[in-house]
């Protein structure tokens, strides 16, 4: 009887250790995810600032990444300021960013097809899409 109790207790300890390790691992992976998502945000914000237009692909994708990161922060309760918000709000923001991304892709495709212009701007200097490299029409 005591033997069985010890075995059950041991298994429980093992599960606890595994759960703790799991949580630590997930925390460190979420840190990595956070850093990995910040780098493209910096790249696209920089390109958007250089393009000086909100109509550019760079600007729109930087909005998507920023909203995604905000959702991630709230979901993981990273920053104390947002800790009063429920993690559900983080998931809802994630959905919002996904919907924004999808609408952005579809609208860009629709207008590119309609006006036979580039879907993704290839010019850094301004918002005008002068080059045909990323054109939806020349493929």
């Amino acid at each position: 009887m005591e033997d069985k109790k010890t075995t059950t207790g041991g298994t429980q300890d093992m599960i606890n250790i595994f759960e703790n390790n799991n949580t630590d691992f997930l925390h460190s992976m979420s840190d990595i995810t956070f850093i990995l998502s910040l780098i493209p945000l910096v790249i696209f914000v920089w390109l958007a600032v250089r393009s000086k237009s909100i109509k550019t692909f760079q600007f729109q994708i930087s909005i998507f990444i920023a909203v995604y990161i905000l959702g991630e922060i709230i979901e993981n309760n990273r920053i104390a300021i947002f800790s009063f918000l429920s993690p559900d709000i983080g998931s809802q923001i994630h959905i919002g960013s996904a919907i924004f991304f999808t609408i952005m892709i579809w609208f860009r495709f629709y207008y590119a097809e309609k006006s036979r212009k580039n879907m993704v701007e290839s010019s850094i200097g301004n918002g005008n899409s002068s080059d045909s490299s990323m054109s939806s029409t020349n493929n």
């Binding site: 799991n22 691992f25 997930l26 992976m29 979420s30 990595i32 995810t33 990995l36 998502s37 780098i39 493209p40 790249i43 696209f44 390109l47 760079q58 990444i65 559900d88 998931s91 809802q92 994630h94 959905i95 996904a98 919907i99 991304f101 999808t102 892709i105 579809w106 495709f109 993704v120 290839s122 010019s123 850094i124 200097g125 080059d131 045909s132 490299s133 990323m134 054109s135 939806s136 020349n138 493929n139």
Partner: protein
Amino acid sequence: MLQTQYYYNLIDAIVYLIAAIIPAYFILKSRKSIIINNDNNNYFRKLTMVLIGFILVQVFYHIAAIIGFRLLAKGFLEPLSMAALLLFGAIYLISMWKIKKRQQEELKT
């Protein structure tokens, strides 16, 4: 898993799948015109492929979360999708530089 989280992940997966249609269409379209294979087309193909990679990994991440593979979803697929987005940003930046450089060279000549 909480019932609400299940629906959030389901909606996310569906929305990303809808987004994947456009890059998939472009990849199929560019396959047909592979004969006109210039640098511009290559940039576009690379960008589209990385973008579709990011979207599909996001879809798999949400599906894994629905099934209950939290470790796989949060520990592997989410960082992988962000790595794909980072690669997309890097390729985009490099292609912009190359195009700008070429435009400047063309202006000089």
